[in-house]
Amino acid sequence: MENRNLEKALDIVSLLVSGQDVGETSANSALYQEYSNNSEVYAIVQETLRHLELEIYEYKNSLYTAGKAGNTVFGFTNEEVKKALGVKLNKELYLAYFIIYNIIMQFYTDSSTPAYVEYVKIDDIVNSMDTNINGIIDDEMGIVLDEIEENSFRQIALSWEELPASSSNSIDNTRAARKSKAGFVKTVINFLEENDLLIGNDARYYPTDRFRSMIENYYEDNRSRLAQLLKGKKEQEK
């Protein structure tokens, strides 16, 4: 193994785990070329990331990383996401996850079919949430509050429905807060912007290439594990 190649590969890994861009059009384009054309550099990067339990995704000639499931060093824990979002309760955390899932569904119908939607606005997401929450609680049957577990979808639905639509008259001026639907969505959007997954401009939020690389690769790569997870939960239910 050439020492020079090791150095380049570690440079790439170092940049990736510190959240910097490695791509054809980035400041580190020379390193990207090495990764693409030098098989030894490619192999070292892959191997190092595998040991660090990180996934590497290539999208539009740029590299992105994500933590593998259960990676507590690089990946987020629930507590860390809570802290980053500024929420304290689990039901708020799950509501935030559900909002993120709805944002994904705005841009993708499935993991390989972009919906050609260029951007979303807060009210798009609030509407999508309202639609998807609608089916969770059977209003005719009613609910027994004591039976609802903190980490259930019914709890997510209740938390959402308890919120007023907005605390200000104009959705565009919505401030991040947990006391209204629009405010909660804004809180989540702020978090996604911080993590370089969305870019906001004039109350319109555009997905970044990082976001697209994650959606188009992560679900597909982890398809069977996620299916197993869902199946396991269903069997537990039975």
Partner: protein, 484 residues
């Protein structure tokens, strides 16, 4: 309201009746059910059907093959049509007999059909005349052709989907130009323009559809190409032909009035009508070309979208809506975290730079390196300068936010300047010059979540008060803080 109704009834009546005129001969003719002719021997035949067939035959001959029709040609067509479309067996004599009868009826024995109506403006009864078949004599032969009204009637009887509306309108235009009806021609061109604009709109919608749902988009694209665009070349040809006809009409007008030193008013009126028609047709042709450009773009986009979809179809995919249904069914939100957390990327905090690992492995230790003294004291947590600073900012922000909440408990609404004044009175005059004081309001205004995160661990949820911040309408340098 009543005025509008009155206008509709009175002022527009003549126009409505003139529009109805073209339908009149059809209903007049279909009153005849052959029962009065030859003791009802041909009762089996249907005048409505026969009339429509004859009109189509004339359009084919006059406008497509561009020739007028002789009587023997008409008889040929009738013989074929009557034998093929009706069950009644007719010999040659009978075919001739019934064809003569029908032709007389359609030509209304040489007279135009007279459609009477009441004109409420003049308060008089008026009669408007309409012919189905026109005739002229050339080289001792009588030639027959279909009238413009009859073409219009025929085209109006069906919403043309499988034929180009532009082409048929152009046939009508051709007829109007050759009968020197240039004003009527301009109306037809306006219709053509509408149709071209309509096709342009349709192509925009197809483009929009393609971006939303590929399957539906491709379906409407194919439909559009089949119905809207397959006639494009034919339309282009007719446009050229009509332009030539206009030029010929202009030449004819000039040659007719050649040698007249004093041109008549009618000459100038006709000249103006021809020029207007020519201009309108040029506009229509330009729009038609623009449509072609837009359709070419659409073709490229569709090809690309189909290609992408084919490639995508090779990959398996995870349908988010299906997964959501399954998750809701399992009713365990913890699964959601498995779906979301990894796509958030990696958390980036201060950490050991891996590059140093490489340097550490390859660096040769200096021989004279001094050994490090072993210390048994417990290592203390390292606090970085920026963390110290963050702590200070956090303390100051908490202090300011608590003051803001206290003020909001006393008054629901106040300006920032009022708040500044009370802070200066309470603490120190220099407080508003403090950098953290300034950045506190900047962060509050920007609302990027930084302030919320910093204060969440410091101020309990119960103590918080929701408020809004907006620019003062009276003083642009001031803000209004209002409790929600």
């Amino acid at each position: 309201m009543i005025e509008t109704m009155q206008r509709d009834i009175v002022a527009d009546h003549r126009e409505r009746m003139l529009n109805l005129k073209k339908y009149y001969p059809f209903f007049k003719l279909t009153e005849n059910n052959f029962s009065q002719f030859k003791d009802g021997m041909y009762e089996n035949l249907d005048m409505g059907y026969i009339l429509m067939a004859i009109l189509r035959f004339f359009i084919e001959q006059n406008n497509v093959k561009e020739k007028d029709v002789t009587y023997p040609e008409y008889l040929d067509f009738m013989a074929r049509m009557l034998r093929e479309n009706f069950n009644q067996k007719l010999d040659d004599g009978q075919v001739r007999e019934v064809s003569d009868y029908i032709f007389d009826k359609i030509r209304n024995e040489g007279r135009p059909f007279s459609f009477e109506y009441y004109d409420p403006i003049d308060r008089k009864k008026r009669a408007s005349r309409v012919r189905i078949i026109e005739s002229n004599i050339k080289d001792n032969t009588v030639w027959y052709s279909i009238s413009a009204e009859a073409i219009e009637f025929y085209l109006d009887t069906k919403e043309i989907k499988d034929e180009s509306r532009i082409s048929v309108a152009q046939l009508l235009l051709e007829k109007m130009i050759s009968s020197d009806d240039f004003k009527g021609g301009a109306v037809v061109v306006a219709k053509i323009n509408d149709e071209v604009s309509n096709l342009k709109r349709q192509s925009d919608q197809v483009l929009k559809g393609l971006s939303l749902n590929l399957d539906e988009g491709v379906k409407s694209y194919r439909e559009f190409m089949d119905t809207g665009m397959q006639w494009f070349d034919e339309e282009e040809r007719l446009f050229k032909k009509n332009t030539e006809l206009i030029e010929k009409a202009l030449a004819k007008l000039n040659s007719d009035h050649e040698g007249q030193s004093q041109k008549t008013e009618a000459y100038y009126r006709t000249l103006k009508d021809i020029y207007e028609l020519g201009d309108q047709l040029k506009i229509a042709m330009n729009r038609h070309t623009e449509l072609l450009v837009s359709v070419t773009k659409m073709q490229k986009m569709t090809d690309q979208a189909i290609k992408n979809a084919k490639i995508r179809s090779l990959r398996s995919r995870v349908n988010f809506q299906t997964i959501l249904k399954e998750m809701i069914l399992a009713d365990d939100a913890e699964v959601l975290s498995e779906f979301i957390k990894p796509v958030l990327g990696i958390k980036i905090r201060k950490r050991f730079v891996l590059k140093n690992l490489d340097e550490a492995l390859t660096m040769r230790p200096l021989k004279m390196i001094k050994p490090e003294k072993v210390s048994f004291s417990e290592s203390t947590e390292i606090v970085y300068d920026d963390e110290l600073e963050e702590e200070r900012i956090g303390d100051n922000y908490e202090f300011l936010m608590r003051n803001l909440y206290s003020a909001l408990r006393v008054r629901d609404e106040f300006s920032k300047k009022e708040f500044d004044a009370s802070m200066m009175a309470m603490y120190d005059e220099n407080i508003i010059k403090n950098a953290d004081y300034v950045t506190f309001f900047v962060n509050l205004w920007q609302d990027d979540g930084y302030l919320n995160k910093m204060l969440d661990s410091r101020i309990d949820e119960e103590e918080k008060i929701d408020f809004t911040l907006e620019r003062s309408s009276e003083d642009s340098n001031d803000l209004i803080i209002r409790r929600v």
